[in-house]
Amino acid sequence: MSRESMEYDVVIVGGGPSGLSTAIKLKQLNSNLNVCILEKASEIGAHILSGNVFETRALDELFPNWKELNTPIKTKVSKEKFLFLGKTKSLSWPTWLLPSVQKNHKNYIISLANLCRWLAEQAENLGVEIFPGFPASEILYDEDGSVKGVATQDMGIDKYGNKKDSFEPGIELLGKVTVFAEGCRGHLGKELIKKFDLDKGKDPQQYGIGFKEIWEIDEKNHEEGLVMHTAGWPLDNNTYGGSFMYHAENKQIFLGYVIGLDYKNPYLSPFDEFQRFKTHPAIKKIIEGGKRISYGARALIEGGFQSLPKMYMPGALLIGCDAGTLNMPKIKGSHTAMKSGMIAAEVIDEHIKNQKDLSNYDQKLRQSWLYDELFRARNVKPSFSWGLIFGIIFTGIDQILFRGKLPFTLRHKHADHETLKSADKMPKIDYPKPDNIITFDKTSSVYLTGTNHEDNQPVHLKLKDPDLPINFTLDKFDEPAQRYCPAGVYEIQKENEINKFIINAQNCIHCKTCDIKEPSQNITWVTPEGGGGPKYGNM
């Protein structure tokens, strides 16, 4: 079937910090370039979820006068705390003993979604065309095998794959260069990594799942500018993770939890660990009397330097966390994502102007502070495979004494889908029931995300083998999808004594955890109809 096509100089897939920074920088370098951004969410920011304590380094370079431009960057970090949690006790770690990468006194507490909305305004003012509600669903290749663009999803297909009256065919967007900036585990990025062997010689990528809730809390418990992190309870020594609590403006706190997806026990439920964490006396006393107003979850990159794939290929670049530029010990990926996009813009500008090869990206990356940051951060995450205590001791030596310059690199040995142990060898975990005051169930949480998908459309979570969940995964791992999914998409239901695997795709909040953690890699996340998914506000 022939589709309409539109030509641009640069087509960018994804309107997050990296994609938007690419677009802005491109227009700053050459205002004549035609640049468009495709975004799967119904509006820019609606699929963005991040802590976020923001380092302004990349923004300082992109808009040196940003402080005069009415940005949504208002709350400067004024105080920091780091707590080790035991079951009921907590131990405060002196901040002067934190490695410098974990010090935040120059940073700001922001909503990344709102920053993206602001960046989108700047981009549009510069003449960038932004198309929210249009997911790129397919990569288009030239005859010589290079990437020539993407196609948007067909709209108006019913659940059996037939065209509805409202059918609107997708269109082809062709670019001299296509930039993939889909964020962590982008479904096109995944295809490119495989097709062009971009991860050759690299360690398997590592991921985490991050939860975030926004609470409006009692004035007396609120300390605008306070940044607090915790490690320890409720996770055991062998599970990588921790919490964040950022006191933002308007009596709001951003409360979240990150768990490494290399966890081993299939009975572990990241969602319930987060809910349980909130019942710790040190946390409960802050949120008690407050109200939860938002909820969301998203997978994030943890692999860093060792897992960073090659970011260029014929006709295209892979940037931000679509490649994996998050700095794990800093727990920050926004400034690095932005920088990776700004480098992309420079490379593309020279490519279009002087026919310079896109492989120039590699050299430019190596010369940048982004590379230096990721290099120095590289040994932190793998050291935690020895457990929390050894991880902290090693990180202290590596980050404080050697500033990340130890003469060796620790490796990531396994992909996250390989780490689960058989259910019969692991202990069941008994999670407390939600009290609906401090802790909640998945249903009421997903309700807060404003998630919706047109219900008469094909399921966008594809099973390679539809029988595998019941025939293998249920028996071997007690079907962990029931627990790792933060939105209750996957359920095992018994009908007439026969187990059935149910996919409630309309609940999907686009976190991509299933695509990452499914032990047989049996689930593939593809783009649903445009505009579907969560409608996050200031996440």
Binding site: A46, G156, E168, I171, E216, I293, T451, K535, G537
Partner: protein, 249 residues
């Protein structure tokens, strides 16, 4: 024939509404806004009539602040020819909107005015009816089917007893039900084209309309939380609880 379609920008129907702490209204900061859903049906129907050759022009009109332009632009992307934004500040009640629309009708002289049967934010269901009264035009409300027959409009309405079909003379006001049609998607090329279509901006104050609210809003609060149910062990216990606790028997 010319069709004027009135549309309203409201909080997206998927968003969970949050009441402001001081009870002065609902939170609209950082909240996704969209076209009022039945207004989408109104636009779709007008565009369909135009595509059938029975209308020449579809004009989308909305009332509100600068941001409402986005909503008008969306109507242009699905087939409206041009837009009008009447700029106002603060709360605008249905009566004020009707009076503004009356002025727009005087100026534009459309043959038909379409709009959604009601807005999903205030659920008033008044604007169409009041506009009909102000213009002294016939009205067909809750339309689930519309047929244009020369100078007459045949409209099927959903009522409690079933379907009612009525005829009204043109010019007329029609308020649209969600079942009227399935609104189309805006395609990328049409979104591009819509960027070039004109949107005329008018200040409500220049129309000589008094838009001051007639109703004083005292307080907005959340509905009370439903208490969790309990299981009773026996019929006797149920009867006893119905008598002594619920006091319904």
């Amino acid at each position: 024939m010319k069709i004027l379609v009135a549309i309203k920008r409201v909080i997206d129907y998927n968003v969970q509404i949050r009441v402001k702490e001081d009870g002065s209204g609902v939170v609209t900061d950082n909240v996704k806004m969209s076209t009022n859903p039945p207004d989408d049906n109104a636009i779709e129907e007008a565009v369909k009539i135009k595509e059938s050759g029975k209308a020449k022009e579809v004009v989308a009109v909305s009332v509100g602040d600068e941001k409402v332009q986005e909503t008008v632009r969306k109507a242009l992307a699905v087939g409206a020819d041009r837009g009008i934004l009447v700029k106002t500040e603060g709360i605008i009640e249905p009566l004020a909107v009707s009076k503004i629309l009356q002025k727009v009708v005087d100026k534009e002289k459309p043959d038909l005015v379409f709009m959604g049967k009601q807005a999903i934010d205030d659920d008033c269901n008044q604007t169409g009816q009041m506009l009909a009264a102000l213009l002294n035009w016939p009205q067909a409300t809750f339309a689930s089917k519309i047929e244009v027959k020369d100078k007459i409009l045949q409209v099927t309405r959903e009522i409690d007893e079933g379907l009612e079909t009525i005829e009204v003379n043109i010019p007329a006001i029609v308020t649209c039900d969600l079942r009227l049609n399935e609104p189309r998607y805006a395609s990328l090329p049409n979104i591009m084209k819509a960027k070039k279509k004109p949107i005329e901006q008018i200040n409500a104050s220049d129309l000589g309309v008094d838009t001051r609210p007639r109703i004083e809003q005292i307080k907005v609060e959340e509905p009370p939380k439903r208490k969790a149910g309990i299981k009773v062990a026996s019929v006797e216990e149920l009867v006893q609880k119905l008598k002594n606790e619920a006091k319904v028997i």
